[in-house]
């Protein structure tokens, strides 16, 4: 019984740290999106929107290198997109963290399972899938 309680509290500590980590990730990425959004409205507010037909090449910010190039030029849309990118990587960081905690517990089956999940996400990062 006491060992269960102990494990439970250790688990809970990890989850609290994880919860905080996620919240920090969300707050950081949302701040970036807000700054980008503000600048975007400042420069483009009077433009007309055109989202009726999907055009894959319209935003020009559909790869990580493109986002970083735009970021260097302080393009408001690239700043928003960078915030979105930070947000996407927040749960990915959680997977990495979980793999490490399985490694510490020497639970190699779950190190394997976690690594597979991470691999799937990393594979989707290569733009081969989009064609």
């Amino acid at each position: 019984m006491s060992s269960i309680r102990k494990n439970f509290f250790a688990d809970r500590d990890i989850q609290l740290i994880l919860g905080t980590l996620l919240r920090v990730g969300v707050i950081a990425s949302m701040s970036v999106v807000l700054v980008g959004g503000f600048l975007y409205l400042l420069s483009d507010h009077a433009m007309q929107i055109d989202y009726r037909v999907f055009n894959p090449n319209k935003s020009g910010l559909s790869s990580i290198p493109a986002i970083f190039i735009g970021l260097r030029e302080l393009d408001p849309k690239a700043i928003i997109q960078f915030g979105t990118l930070l947000l996407i990587f927040t749960p990915v960081a959680r997977v990495v963290f979980s793999i490490f905690s399985f490694l510490i517990e020497r639970d190699y089956l779950y190190v394997l399972i976690g690594s597979f999940v991470l691999l799937v996400i990393l594979y989707s990062l290569s733009d081969k899938l989009v064609g």
Partner: protein, 278 residues
């Protein structure tokens, strides 16, 4: 429509979607997509891209709050993510080859199903019968804290839950939603995981699954900053306020009213999909 007007309309709509979505447990994505497509004439591929980003934001943002209420079973989550990440990527890859009308019809059907699931009373079927071989091998059985000390629970029909999760992931990748209603079927009904564990574990998985398909959407140009920005900020703000109100409000009546609204939206999506207006 000017960028400024569009941004404010979407911001307000996304705020409401996040608020009501968190009060009823339906999530923001299922409401923001009809709003963007039906009311503002946005192409459904853009709406899906914006919605998936808001799913990640709400899932990650509420994780910290969830830690206080229940306990995530990281092993169940990680194991089922094998199914959901693979299928979410598949869903996200094929969605662009599908006719927008077809996507709208599938979306409407899932919306109808979610509305029904929201009103039906959920039954906790969890027990401690640890006879499932696969659950023992994968160390999925666990404990959660109650007022009378730790309570054990066992996981059932792992293979069935895995298959259902694969389906939930496809839908998530296809439509850019969290597909919470399908995850409830997999975890509560098939695998018989107690609510305290399934809610938080499902939330844990939602962010990871959405991240996998969001990357595919990003590469394809479906995540447009001009739409994703107001959607994400609006839904996240609404959901955060909603989760604070939720603690001291009864939502039974709200759920029924909202189920009617969602049913109406669903029929509208199906009609527009079939008549080729989307």
């Amino acid at each position: 429509m000017s960028v400024l007007l569009f941004t404010f309309i979407v911001l307000a709509g996304a705020f409401l979607a996040g608020l009501v979505g968190s009060l009823t447990g339906l999530g923001g994505g299922v409401i923001i997509i009809p709003l963007l497509t039906l009311a503002l004439g946005v192409d459904i591929h853009y709406a899906i891209g914006a919605s998936i980003v808001s799913v990640i934001a709400t899932s990650s943002g509420s994780a910290a709050a969830y830690v206080k209420e229940g306990i995530t079973n990281i092993r169940i989550g990680m194991f089922l993510e094998v199914a959901t990440t693979v299928s979410a990527v598949i869903g996200a890859v094929i969605t662009v080859y599908l006719n927008p009308g077809f996507i709208a019809v599938v979306f409407g059907l899932i919306l109808l199903f979610s509305a029904a699931m929201m009103v039906i009373k959920k039954v906790d079927r969890s027990d401690n019968d640890t006879s499932g071989k696969l659950a023992v091998f994968l160390k999925l059985n666990g404990t959660y804290p109650t007022e009378n000390g730790a309570k054990n629970y066992a996981v059932h029909r792992v293979a069935g839950g895995f298959v259902m999760m694969f389906f939930a992931g496809i839908i998530s990748g296809l439509l850019g939603i969290g597909s919470g209603a399908l995850k409830v079927i997999a975890m509560d009904n098939i695998m018989r995981i107690p609510f305290k564990v399934s809610t938080t574990t499902s939330n844990f998985m939602m962010g990871v699954t959405a991240a996998a398909s969001a990357i595919v959407y990003l590469h394809r140009g479906q995540i447009d900053p001009g739409i994703a920005m107001p959607v994400t900020i609006g839904v996240l703000t609404g959901a955060t306020i909603g989760s604070k109100i939720l603690v001291r409000t009864k939502t039974d009546k709200l759920k029924v009213v909202f189920a009617v609204v969602v049913t109406f939206l669903a029929l509208q999506m199906i009609y527009n999909g079939l008549s080729g207006k989307l």
